[in-house]
């Protein structure tokens, strides 16, 4: 019996995560709060906002996305693929005289090359983003507080059982302008 209870407990700890949510209603207060909370040594899980907030990446310490590098190489692939395809098809595999031009007529290939460069860069970026973020049709998203899609900012801090001092956290958030502090358990 005791063993069974313990197993259930372990099961619960592994499956559920507990978060403390600081609710803010002002962008500037939020930015300052993020800085202070991080300075106090508390790790912020994420911040949810109804719209993109200028400067929030910097205060949260989020590194710049490396997606542009992917875009560059996908674009480079598109350029080389398009040129190779046209040169091989029209120059070697099935040479045809079109408009009296040479088989490999580079100026005529440029529109296609341009389009494939843009296409590959764009699709490459979107697909890479989906993969990196693990976005997929069956994905279940935990919405911490529905008001973060309306008019409130939500700062989520993960609670580590036995480590996090709930009272201290509560007062830290409140002293930094949180209008509410809630707790939420989510099933991972």
């Amino acid at each position: 019996m005791a063993l069974h209870q313990n197993l259930t407990l372990i099961h619960l700890i592994a499956m559920n995560k507990k978060f403390v949510l600081g609710i803010y209603d002002d962008e500037d207060v939020l930015l300052e709060a993020i800085e202070n909370v991080r300075a106090a040594g508390t790790k912020i899980y994420d911040v949810f906002s109804p719209y993109p907030v200028h400067g929030i990446d910097d205060v949260l310490g989020i590194k710049r996305s490396r997606l542009p590098i992917v875009a560059f190489f996908c674009g480079l692939f598109g350029t080389s693929f398009a040129l190779w395809m046209q040169i091989w098809m029209l120059g070697f595999d099935w040479p045809m005289i079109i408009g009296g031009k040479p088989h490999i007529a580079i100026p005529a290939f440029i529109p296609v090359t341009f389009e494939l460069t843009v296409l590959c860069a764009a699709f490459g970026m979107v697909i890479t983003f989906f993969i990196v973020q693990r976005l997929r049709p069956s994905l279940k998203v935990n919405v911490f507080d529905k008001r973060s899609t309306d008019d409130k900012f939500v700062m989520a801090i993960e609670v580590k059982e036995g480590v996090t001092d709930m009272n201290a956290l509560n007062s830290l958030l409140r002293s930094n302008g949180a209008i509410e502090v809630n707790e939420k358990e989510v099933i991972k």
């Binding site: 200028h54 400067g55 710049r64 542009p68 560059f72 408009g99 009296g100 031009k101 100026p107 005529a108 440029i110 529109p111």
Partner: protein, 417 residues
């Protein structure tokens, strides 16, 4: 917000005067060199052309003056155009740098005056179509194609267009500038709303006049040839050069301790403008080139054949490398657009590159095989640059560099990208 007054040290002004003096000396040296037969060696390679005489030094001088005048006047009007676009777009980010494009327009009266004088003095040397005999059906040199264009391409209509374009451009420049300076003194939003209406009117006029100016001042040099892309092509060339001039000025002012509130975010947006419109110019260039290349109709492809012969080949390809490949690759990353040194290198390259672009548009149709970049071209460019910088910096010093009462100033100060 605090005012920032630009003070041009006497040393800087002297540098501009020195630039003009060196330019004049170079031009005179070039003329003496050519008049004493220095350019005659060119003639040997063109012996097959019957009755070909090397172009005179006067023609060469007139062409280099015309080239520089069209180039610098273009940059000047692009300044006004840029400000007008910012107003109509309700742009906030550009407020801190708006006084720079605004002051570019101070060159317009000089450019207009020089252009009218050059046309009156050297019209025959610059424009083949100005010769009376082309329209005389009894003359053996009668040209039915040019005669068919007489309704548009005739001396008086051309001159009237030139005067109207410059007069209206200068009018709008003064109007916008006056509103902007009065806003500094009086405050309020009335000047802002008025400037939007003025800008909208100007943009409509500029949309038509920039194209027509391109046909008149550049395209009509190659009278038989025509391209429907040409108005856009010249506009694109002017616009990139103008954006490069604005960006370079911002950086130079910033490095001399002015424009304290301008930061990497503003430079980033200017860099994006330069980057994007380099590509835009290339897009227009290619659209014009490819259709003519593909169709291969003799009277159209002649234009590019003249530019791809041994004399101009290097300019043709340098043009593409400096104005497309270089800014495209260098300014591609975010960091490059936020660093002054990168932007400085690219904008200087673009300013030189688009001067070459105009060189390539004008010289093959006039100087043919006798064109070159020598004392006369470099000298007259230095003279124009010196005059341009004198008027531009003088205009810039007339008002605060920060438009203190602009309603979007606060937004520009906190601009973040």
């Amino acid at each position: 917000m605090t005012e920032e007054r630009l003070i041009i040290p006497r040393k800087t002004n002297n540098k501009f005067f020195l630039m003009i003096a060196i330019g004049v000396v170079l031009v005179i040296a070039g003329i003496i060199f050519m008049a004493s037969g220095g350019g005659a060696d060119h003639g040997a390679g063109h012996g097959e052309v019957a009755g070909h005489e090397p172009a005179s030094w006067l023609k060469r001088l007139l062409m280099s003056l015309w080239l520089n005048n069209v180039y610098f006047s273009g940059i000047a009007i692009i300044g006004v155009f840029f400000v007008a676009v910012q107003y109509v777009a309700y742009a906030g980010w550009s407020v801190l740098i708006k006084r720079i494009p605004e002051a570019l327009g101070y060159f317009l009266p000089i450019g207009g005056a020089i252009m009218i004088i050059l046309f009156l003095v050297g019209g025959h040397d610059i424009f083949h179509w100005t010769h009376e005999y082309l329209y005389d059906i009894n003359d053996e040199r009668y040209d039915p194609i040019i005669a068919g264009k007489a309704g548009y391409l005739n001396f008086w209509f051309f001159l009237i267009r030139m005067i109207i374009f410059f007069a209206v451009w200068i009018l709008f420049f003064n109007w916008l500038r006056r509103n902007s300076v009065n806003e500094d003194l009086q405050g309020g939003t009335a000047y802002y709303h008025k400037s939007i209406r003025i800008s909208a009117m100007f943009l409509v006029f500029f949309g038509v006049s920039s194209s027509m100016a391109a046909w008149d001042w550049v395209l009509s040099i190659d009278t038989h040839w025509y391209s429907t892309m040409f108005g856009w092509y010249v506009f694109a060339s002017w616009f990139v050069a103008g954006l490069a001039a604005i960006t370079l000025t911002v950086i130079i002012l910033k490095q001399n301790g002015y424009l304290k509130m301008v930061n990497a975010n503003h430079l980033h947006d200017l860099g994006k403008f330069v980057f994007a419109f380099s590509i835009f110019w290339t897009y227009i260039w290619f659209s014009q080139f490819m259709l003519i290349w593909y169709a291969n109709i003799p009277e159209e492809s002649l234009y590019f054949l003249a530019r791809l012969d041994e004399h101009y080949k290097w300019v043709f390809f340098t043009n593409l490398i400096v104005n497309f490949a270089f800014p495209f690759l260098v300014l591609m990353t975010r960091d490059a657009k936020r660093q002054m040194i990168m932007l400085k290198i690219v904008t200087i390259a673009i300013l030189l590159g688009h001067w070459l672009d105009f060189y390539l548009m004008m010289m093959p149709g006039t100087m043919r095989g006798d064109a070159g970049i020598g004392f006369i071209e470099i000298g007259s460019t230095l003279v124009f640059l010196g005059v341009f910088l004198l008027t531009f910096t003088k205009g810039l010093a007339k008002a605060s560099l920060v438009p203190v009462n602009h309603p979007f100033l606060e937004e520009s100060v906190h601009h973040h990208v």
